[in-house]
Subunit: 258 residues, 2 copies
């Protein structure tokens, strides 16, 4: 299986403290050593850092940890290969362009027979069930909405519908970004935490490192992290329910349609 970490914030945010916990699970405190990646948005574009090597020892991960790259929307993934060999083609997050925006996707789980679904526009480069499922969802969204719908909740509902459909094939925990919103779907495990004023301390489960966010964040900053498993032990992570779909932007969960 794999682990996911996403960030939504109302200002370009530094994910390195929390990411340093996730990174340990790629070969040190965890077995997800078959590659890792992180995608960070700036406007409608994202840039990604990918490495088919274990995040714990990856030179690209080491560089990222020493860099100062911030973003309002981030998706990261560490991989334990099930379907598809260990190679760049199979390294999450995956991305495709729709409506002149980068869409970015990362998945935890396994899907049976997803490859029996036909694809039209988007094709996987690699052999994972994950990238295939992403292409399937993108195909469907593209077909239904040749242009971005004006009512964004219409799009959210459609993505939720697709998520529920694909989830019938197995385990489908995922994070998806369309450059405006981050979508999280919980098949069987996903949790989230919001950091906002007044800020306190957080302690990473995997390293024991402690940070006092009041020294790093401003009063108006709001950041939400979404992860497969809690990464800190003294913050209030909310567990999502099975089949639950959430939408985040500007650091906050958005209210879905009734």
């Amino acid at each position: 299986m794999c682990e996911l970490l996403g960030l939504s914030a109302n200002m370009p945010a530094d994910i390195r403290f929390t990411f340093s916990g996730l990174r340990q699970r790629g070969g040190n405190t965890g077995i997800h050593k078959d590659g890792w990646g992180i995608s960070l948005y700036e406007g409608r574009a994202s840039r990604s850092f990918h490495d088919p090597k274990a995040s714990f020892s990856s030179e690209v991960a080491h560089f990222f940890h020493t860099s100062a790259i911030k973003s309002k929307m981030i998706i990261s993934h560490i991989r334990q290969a099930n379907r598809g060999r260990v190679c760049l083609e199979n390294t999450h997050p995956f991305s495709r362009e729709l409506w002149g925006c980068d869409w970015v996707f990362a998945h935890n789980g396994q899907l049976k027979n997803i490859k029996k679904k036909s694809l039209k526009f988007y094709r996987p480069r690699g052999t994972t069930d994950s990238e295939y499922a992403f292409c399937y969802m993108m195909d469907k969204i593209r077909k239904k909405y040749p242009k971005r719908p004006k009512k964004e909740k219409e799009l959210w509902s459609y993505i939720e519908k697709l998520a529920n459909e694909v989830n019938q094939l197995g385990i489908f925990n995922f994070l998806l970004c369309d450059s405006r919103h981050m979508y999280a779907y919980c098949s069987n495990k996903m949790c989230w935490v919001t950091r906002k004023y007044p800020f306190g301390e957080a302690r990473l489960i995997d390293t024991g490192d402690i940070i006092d966010f009041s020294n790093h964040l401003s009063k108006n900053d709001v950041i939400t992290l979404v992860a497969s498993h809690a990464l800190t032990e003294n913050e209030q992570w909310h567990c999502m329910e099975k089949g639950e779909f959430k939408v985040f932007n500007n650091g906050k969960p958005r209210r879905l349609a009734a």
Copy 2:
């Protein structure tokens, strides 16, 4: 304007020596300081490093220079902004997926009225004439060839035809990769050099650094570099002619159809 650098090799090759010359031109020996990027293939996928900052001082470029990432096919670009502001969305190389392969593109020049051409499948994320021209060519290739043509020279001829068409709108020096071949088009400046046994020394024009490739390469290694301007001063760079189109793979120029 901008500068381009491409590599085709018959083994995963290290571009860092030559890239370190190009990098100087992004803010030190040259004025192309409005961002840079490099895309490196592994199979059908590519990974890119992008930074909207000057390559000479970019931390991402510094990391790349210290890393050991090799590839058989590489495209790099340093930007001097003409059309479109300095931001990630406008930073080359651009990439899109077709036939389950990453296609990567970088451009030097300016194109008038390219945005009057209609687009169907692919849309630009940013505002450059370059990304628009890339989307236009990808649209045309996709429409003509829903599947990769079995006769690869058919595809080459079609790309050359599109290049000649777009070149009517201004200056259109470009490098394009489809994961199998690298295509180079010379609108008004482009040159290339092949490094093969017996290997000699090369001296970078921009730094004076010297390398003796016989200490780094094996007898069977073949590498071709394509660039806007020669990067070394004691190698035989071949100038392409105006309107010339070339195809490279496994380190060598390929023979085009008569």
